[in-house]
Amino acid sequence: MTIEEQLIEYAKQGKLLTHKCTKCGYLHLSTAYYCLKCGSKGFEDVVLDGEGSIATYTIITVAPAGFEKYTPYAFVVLQLDNTHLRISGFMAGIATPEDLPVGTRAKISGFEDGCGIIIKKQ
């Protein structure tokens, strides 16, 4: 499996695969090949629960091709619990800002071809 396929497999289980630098301990999304902090290449896999709170988001009404059938939907950036890491994803069924205040609890809930990483409110 490629590094992207591995991340997708974990996302399908509601988890997030991350890479922890074996030299300095800094945590990255698993698509990183070198450490952002120390530049070294060795990583160990750390699987996160994929839970966190909404850092920012938008509700899209003019969509790229393939997403028209979902409008309005949200593109969200999730701040993961107990780490500096954030992950972006697709959230269906969001129509107004009242539906999704910044800070709302949310979780990775899957991955779908055509929508990418799916995030749902908890």
Partner: protein, 387 residues
């Protein structure tokens, strides 16, 4: 760094920005000819071309350089086509600058172009999303308005700005663009027009967004020696900086700042030996209203979080504290993405050589251009001085 040559802009020209009927090859050539004639040079004096373009494939023409050179009657001269999303123009300008500064060439044509409007809103939105970190962003349904809307939401939350504040940026840039005959949207608008325009990606509405535009811009870049021998008006490039940011918004420590802008600006100010306070006017990357506010903070014109107050107080209006986007910016002048960074240089050239007409920034001596790709994943800043 030691440079062999001082670098100057000797001529500049743009097609009108908007929905254009001509082919991408045609408008590339038209803009280049305008710049050549404006500089008063013979095309055979051009040693090479730098072409910036992103979606040539949409008009069935990539590898634009040799097509341009053939049409200019200099097919034997080398060319390079450069893609860095919406920052392609300034990145190409930087590479051209470096080559003249190093003494490789004494005279270049630098032309940016885009031709996309014929593909329609849905497909242009789709193509533009390919400029994001697609695995994380485009694949999850992020459009470009959506990514900047995510920055806008973060800014609203963090600094207590309002959507009316964003609207003020659009109104100001349309006021400027109204005075620019080459502008795509040469019309004035009101705060009410912006607030009542349809939502594209909340909190951004249609009039918070720049239009999709076709267009081409071109400048003649040369050594100071070449410029002096030729006579005529020219301006000097006194600073050039580049920077990068994490490709996806999720990877940034703050989502209300663009790191590449700060890095590129610091580089350019250092090279020029000046600070933000010395800039008389700036053409900044206002693809969305929120972007201009963030840009003016990251470029050091205002403290972080204070850019919005500056807009409220009219401090960025034409001929106020610092004229921001006298051309009308991407918002009103238009945003043919491969051309934009070069088009900003055209505006600075026109301003510093007395060709800007009703939108002239009075007594301007130093102008800055700021242009980035995607959500600022790549950025270039240039500083120019009248001679």
């Amino acid at each position: 760094m030691t440079f062999v040559e001082k670098v100057c802009v000797l001529g500049a020209g743009s097609t009108k920005y908007g929905k254009l009927a001509e082919s991408i090859a045609d408008i590339t050539t038209q803009a280049s000819v305008l710049a050549i004639e404006n500089a008063g040079i013979d095309p055979k004096e051009i040693k090479a071309s730098y072409i910036s373009n992103v979606f040539g494939v949409a008009d069935k023409q990539v590898h634009l350089g040799p097509v341009l050179m053939s049409r200019l009657g200099i097919p034997d001269k080398p060319s390079l086509t450069i893609e860095s999303a919406c920052g392609s123009g300034s990145v190409s300008f930087r590479e051209a600058y470096a080559n003249v500064a190093a003494g490789f060439y004494d005279c270049l044509v630098v032309t940016g172009v885009e031709k996309v409007t014929h593909t329609g809103t849905e497909w242009t939105t789709t193509y533009f999303a390919y400029c994001s970190d697609f695995f994380y962003e485009g694949q999850a349904g992020a459009s470009f308005p959506g990514l900047f809307a995510s920055m806008a939401r973060a800014y609203l939350t963090e600094f207590g700005a309002t959507e009316e504040d964003f609207a003020r940026v659009a109104v100001k840039n349309h006021d400027n663009g109204f005075l620019n005959p080459k502008a795509h949207m040469q019309k004035k608008i009101t705060i009410d027009d912006v607030m009542k325009s349809p939502v594209v990606a909340s909190p951004l509405k249609l009039y918070d967004c720049c239009p999709f535009s076709d267009g081409a811009s071109s400048v003649i870049l040369c050594s100071e020696k070449f410029a002096k021998e030729h006579g005529g008006d020219y301006i000097e490039v006194i600073g050039s900086g580049r920077g990068g940011s994490p490709a996806a918004l999720q990877g940034r420590e703050q989502m209300t700042t663009i790191p590449s802008t700060k890095i590129a600006a610091a580089d350019a100010y250092k090279m020029a030996g000046i600070t933000a306070k010395d800039i008389d006017f700036a053409e900044v990357h206002d693809c969305f209203t929120i972007a201009e506010i963030v840009d003016t903070e990251d470029l050091g014109f205002f403290e972080k979080g204070k850019g919005v107050q500056a807009v409220r107080e009219g401090r960025t209006n034409l001929n106020s504290d610092i004229s921001i986007n006298p051309s009308g910016g991407l918002k009103s002048k238009g945003h043919p993405i491969g051309a934009t960074g070069v088009g900003q240089v055209v505006e600075v050239f026109d301003q510093l050589t007395g060709r800007a007409g009703a939108r002239t920034v009075k007594d301007a001596k130093i102008g800055l251009t700021h242009n980035f790709g995607a959500t600022g994943a790549s950025c270039a800043v240039h500083i120019f001085q009248s001679v």
